[in-house]
């Protein structure tokens, strides 16, 4: 698997140069990315998706410590509206993506996660061939067939949460294993079990039954990961030679990557840099492109 690292440069003083922000408001976490007009990454932050939504998005944007991970640079308290207004006043541009994209006031526009993940991946990797992005998120999985220029086709999980972060979370809960210990335990598996059920809750029942029969937890966790891979690959046929992984689940459970790779004869696998932030970065890239192409006439 190929790995990439990306330099993050410090955010300039407000008003000194334009900054483009992307807000990816997902089901589990709000991710924020900022880039400068050359596309260089200035900031990446995240916080839990809490309610009222707008307030938390604005806190995340303004870098308030309360809602954010230690990635936050600026840690002074602001009012909810201040976050976007500050940015807008200083000539900053904000675009939103993710399930909450249409519920955030004060942004300049929005785009879907499909396009955002594509833009975030392509912006960082600059691939010159057709490829397929696999993005596993909190409540859905996406397979995005891309060309270097655009999204060609895509699929989103259609039945249940099987193959998503919610699925892993539910089974971790059933097994009483903290999420961060799952990969380590899976590496200790000694058999290739299969979980059959399509449904998250019924998978949980299968797991309980197997535990009752004395199955090792390590094997069940490995089966859970293989089940995620199966559910995602069932969504659509993959016809490119390159797979790019993005999204929070893959970033936190990289053990999935070789499991995807082993389902193909010959395929190049790439973990996108800042995988969890690809959506937010894509929104920032879109903000930059829209501004450069059309100016800032539309303020929604």
């Amino acid at each position: 698997m190929t790995r990439h690292t990306v330099q993050v440069r410090p955010t300039p003083e407000p008003g000194t140069e334009p900054v483009f922000w992307g807000v990816d408001c997902g089901s589990a976490e709000i991710k924020i990315a900022a880039i400068d007009s050359t596309g260089r990454i200035l900031e990446l932050r995240k916080g839990r998706t809490l309610f009222p939504l707008v307030e938390h998005v604005h806190r995340a944007l303004s870098g308030s410590a309360e809602a954010l991970s230690p990635l936050a640079e600026e840690q002074r308290a602001v009012t909810p509206d201040e976050g976007t207004e500050l940015a807008a006043r200083a000539g900053h541009v904000i675009y939103a993506t993710g399930y909450g994209r249409n519920h955030i006031k004060g942004v300049h526009g929005s785009l879907t996660e499909i396009k955002a993940h594509f833009l975030g991946v392509q912006h960082q990797l600059e691939l010159d061939r057709d490829y397929t992005i696999i993005d596993i998120g909190g409540q859905d999985s996406k397979v995005i067939r891309s060309t270097p220029e655009r999204v060609d086709q895509f699929a989103i999980n259609r039945k249940c949460a099987a193959g998503t972060g919610a699925y892993i979370e539910e089974l971790a809960h059933r097994l009483e294993v903290p999420m961060d210990r799952l990969p380590g335990l899976a590496r200790k598996h000694d058999s290739d079990l299969t979980l059959n059920s399509y449904c998250t809750v019924f998978s949980g029942q299968e797991v309980i039954k197997l535990l009752m029969h004395g199955e090792r937890v390590e094997n069940l966790i490995q089966a859970l990961y293989r089940s995620v891979v199966k559910r995602v690959l069932e969504m659509t046929a993959i016809d490119t030679d390159t797979l790019v992984f993005s999204g929070g689940v893959l970033e936190h459970h990289e053990i999935l990557v070789p499991l995807f790779a082993e389902r193909f004869d010959q395929i190049e696998t790439i973990m996108a840099p800042n995988a969890q932030f690809c959506g937010a970065l894509g929104a920032a890239v879109h903000a930059m492109k829209e501004t450069q192409d059309h100016g800032l006439s539309h303020h929604h």
Partner: protein
């Protein structure tokens, strides 16, 4: 909508239902129930007032009463996986409710003297009508045409005509009078005029911007469903065509700033029509054509050979054709209406009206016609996710 003296859709439907209600209460008049693309012209010619349970099913969906009535039928052994028009309607009957009460002050659906179904769309209508036949001890007549045809051939038509003749004998036994051949010819000719006008109205959406969207058409199609063979349908569509012509001349579009043109394949999602209409409009996408609304174009009706032409028209409907026909049909309409992409509705409880299950979207994509599959249902909103489908549709429109 431009003001004209044309009949108003609400008034046409109100008059139809009030008259039907009056007929059901009048011992001197007879009511027949008929499937939506069943032999309505014969029933009209024999003096029956005709009621269409599928139309009632759509009303249960659109008014979102179905959410309360489907589980009632499920509890009586009608699976959540079968036609949700059936389960909505049977559940409503068991609960003793109907949206006709709120809309028109009508206490209940009109009790039938006879039930007539045709399985040219699906087998579920047979189970549906048989439920009422058992429940109310009413005679039921079924027409079982050959299904899923690549071409409609002479022998298929003859088969259906034989079944029609047998049906007519049974109906004559109920009315006590022979079929009036002239009345049948007139009913079929009237149906033909109305369906030609409906076709003209739908074809107006070839204009850019389109004066009418799928979401309007699902409302405007009421009379061609429930009043075929009746003068009131013809009058209504004459007015509608005039209105649409005026809109086209004025350059008035159904969707502001029309940027994309979409084809809707499959059933409407009745309980979410407004949500979907607003979603497409927000992206400046006009849904300009659909399989569903086009299904009430019956260009083969011919008053001079009524039974044969009815058999032919009702056999030829899209849903009763094979996959090859469907593929070429959609391809043609996509070209005629200059469509950018197709939204396929995979309706959970209506596999017969769902054409995304056997690789059709992929085959059309290979011919340069992009598409997306939205999971949902005609009436059962438990099968539909607003959030997922919004993202799907928006992302699809972004790729066009």
């Amino acid at each position: 909508m431009t003001e004209t003296s044309a009949p108003n859709i609400k008034q046409v439907m109100r008059d139809y239902f009030l008259d039907l209600d009056a007929a059901a209460r009048d011992p001197g008049r007879r009511v027949a129930w008929c499937t939506s693309v069943g032999p309505a012209e014969v029933l009209r010619a024999m003096g029956f007032e005709v009621y269409f349970p599928e139309n009632h099913g759509a009303m249960l969906g659109a008014t979102r009463v179905a959410g309360d009535t489907i589980p009632v039928a499920n509890a009586r052994g009608y699976s959540p996986e079968i036609c949700s028009y059936l389960t909505s309607d049977v559940g409503a009957c068991i609960k003793g409710i109907t949206p006709l009460t709120k809309a028109y002050g009508i206490e209940s659906v009109p009790k039938p003297d006879v039930l007539v179904y045709c399985t040219n769309q699906c087998k579920d209508v047979m189970h549906w009508f048989n439920w009422y036949a058992r429940e109310w001890k009413v005679p039921v007549i079924g027409i079982h045409p050959p299904n899923h045809l690549p071409e409609v051939e002479r022998e298929h038509i003859d088969d259906v005509v034989i079944q029609y003749r047998k049906m007519i004998e049974q109906l004559e036994a109920i009315t006590g009078e022979p079929l009036d051949e002239q009345a049948l010819k007139a009913a079929v000719a009237e149906s033909r005029t109305a369906t030609d006008l409906w076709s003209d109205a739908l074809n107006m959406a070839r204009a850019k911007p389109a004066p009418m969207s799928f979401f309007d058409s699902t409302i405007y199609m009421g009379p061609i469903v429930v009043l075929r063979g009746d003068r009131r349908a013809t009058d209504y569509y004459r007015g509608l065509v005039a209105e649409l012509k005026a809109k086209v001349a004025a350059g008035e579009g159904a969707v502001a700033g029309e940027r994309l043109r979409v084809y809707w394949e499959g059933m409407p999602i009745w309980g979410r029509l407004r949500h979907l209409s607003e979603l497409f409009a927000s992206q400046h996408a006009a849904v300009v054509a659909s399989t569903y609304c086009n299904s009430w174009i019956f260009s083969d009706f011919d008053g001079d050979r009524p039974l044969e032409s009815m058999a032919e028209a009702y056999l030829k409907i899209f849903i009763n054709r094979d996959d090859g026909y469907k593929e070429s049909y959609i391809e043609r309409v996509v070209g005629d209406f200059d469509i950018d992409g197709v939204v396929y509705h995979a309706a959970r409880t209506c596999p017969n009206n769902t054409n995304s299950h056997y690789n059709l979207p992929q085959r059309l994509k290979n011919k340069g016609i992009p598409g997306i599959v939205v999971d949902g249902d005609l009436n059962d909103l438990r099968c539909f996710s607003d959030e997922q489908s919004t993202t799907l549709v928006e992302a699809f429109l972004e790729t066009l």
